[in-house]
């Protein structure tokens, strides 16, 4: 036992993430040019889009984890689904905040009720509901199965949210970089890609740590249960009478 949830691998991953963040700041704030239309506000792009995409990926991991858990009852996938949803919620929160700030600058309002924003807000509330189920005071296995069903239902919402700009004509702009010849300047494209990589690294780094903490929490719960059982057994052996514990 090292007393921490880090290992050599996560330290390297963490160092890479932090170095990447520094590089992202450099590229996003200094090296990349202003946009012709949006001016300085375009720099929001390098946080807004990567956090959104990584958050969606995180929720798909949660959906996949829920399905595998319901199928195989594997604790590993249960914890992965839980950890991924938590980090996804934080990233989606960052997406919403950065989007609101960007919207204030380029649309003039923090919030508008178009399809993309509405579905994203619903997704956010839905994930908060999932995390609330995760905190329900009940037996762990039952809670995990309930959470897995709720996590499964997260799937359709995420898909609708992801395709909202394609299905409805909205104020929010459509995808820019999935086309073959992106209409975006080279260094801006590079910065955006760097942002994706950095936030993906951040997600992986946090996910591993969160996973380990949750895993330890489960072990502590098990130990507590074992200890309580042993106590009861020894009581029964000592006097034969069951004394209520203080």
């Amino acid at each position: 036992m090292t007393g921490t949830t880090s290992s050599r691998g996560t330290r390297v991953l963490g160092a890479l993430t932090l170095a990447g963040m520094a590089a992202l700041l450099l590229f996003a704030l200094v090296l990349s040019p202003q946009d012709e239309v949006q001016g300085e506000a375009v720099r929001m792009l390098y946080v807004h889009v990567p956090t959104a995409i990584v958050a969606f990926t995180a929720f798909f991991v949660t959906v996949a984890g829920s399905i595998v858990y319901l199928w195989k009852r594997s604790e590993w996938w249960d914890i992965t689904a839980h950890a991924s949803a938590e980090i996804g919620a934080v990233l989606l929160g960052a997406t919403l905040v950065s989007g609101m700030l960007w919207g204030r600058v380029s649309w003039g309002v923090y919030w508008t009720w178009d399809a993309r924003l509405t579905t994203t807000a619903l997704l956010f509330v839905f994930v908060l509901g999932y995390l609330a189920v995760r905190r329900l005071p009940m037996e762990r296995d039952r809670r995990s199965r309930l959470a897995a069903v709720v996590g499964l239902l997260l799937g359709p919402t995420t898909i609708v949210c992801h395709y909202a700009t394609t299905w409805w004509r909205t104020l929010h702009q459509g995808p820019t970089i999935t086309r073959l010849n992106p209409e975006i300047d080279g260094i801006m494209l590079f910065t955006l890609m760097l942002g994706m990589v950095v936030f993906a690294l951040l997600y992986a780094w946090l996910l591993i740590h969160r996973f380990r903490v949750l895993w330890l929490e489960h072990r502590v719960e098990d130990l507590g249960l074992d200890a309580a059982l042993a106590e009861r057994r020894s009581e029964a052996e000592d006097g034969g009478t069951l004394v209520p514990s203080p």
Binding site: L122, G129, R145, L152, T157
Partner: protein, 222 residues
Amino acid sequence: MFRDAALIAGKDLRLEARARVALNQVAPFALLVLVLFAFALDPDRGVLDQATPGLFWIAVLLSTLLAVQRGFSVEAADGVRDSLRLSALDPAGIFLGKVVAIGVQLLVLEALLLIGVVVLYDADPGGIALLVPTCLAATVGLAAAGSLYGVLSAGLRVKETILPLLLLPVLAPVLIAATQAFEAGFDDRMGEGWRWLGLLVVFAAAYIGLGLLVFDTLLEEA
């Protein structure tokens, strides 16, 4: 499966016919919501008129929460849930029965509310040919999603607070589509309404399908 569904729906509706909780408590609550909206949005300035479809469906949504909670709390006492599980009834049948029972109560409620908005808000139910199928499709969706989350939260100590948090975001698409369809129906712009009705049908079918698949697991765990 359908025989089991009929049994469960019959049982729940018979309970309702004798206890009259939905009729004596939920329906007056829904009408009360309509009256409160009228107080909040000054009826003289025409706001109420424009907002009528949305207010109607908000009232239905809030009543759905109550109906779902009632529908599953009748089984909370005396270990009725366990007896239900041991009864060898098909879980899919139990789910369908619950959907039918909650759906029938909601339909009666919607009829009352529709009279309510015509009388209180002076709405014009011109496109009744669109309003009725909209009510039907939306009700199936509400009852199906409601039954899923209802059984999920029924056994929990925090059921009153967790059910709205989980259920309302899921029901938001119903609110949007049904409101749009009703707007089209009240304004006699039927063409637009049919598309929204299609969305409601897809939603209802999706949740009925999901319910048939996962109700078994939920009934066992909650």
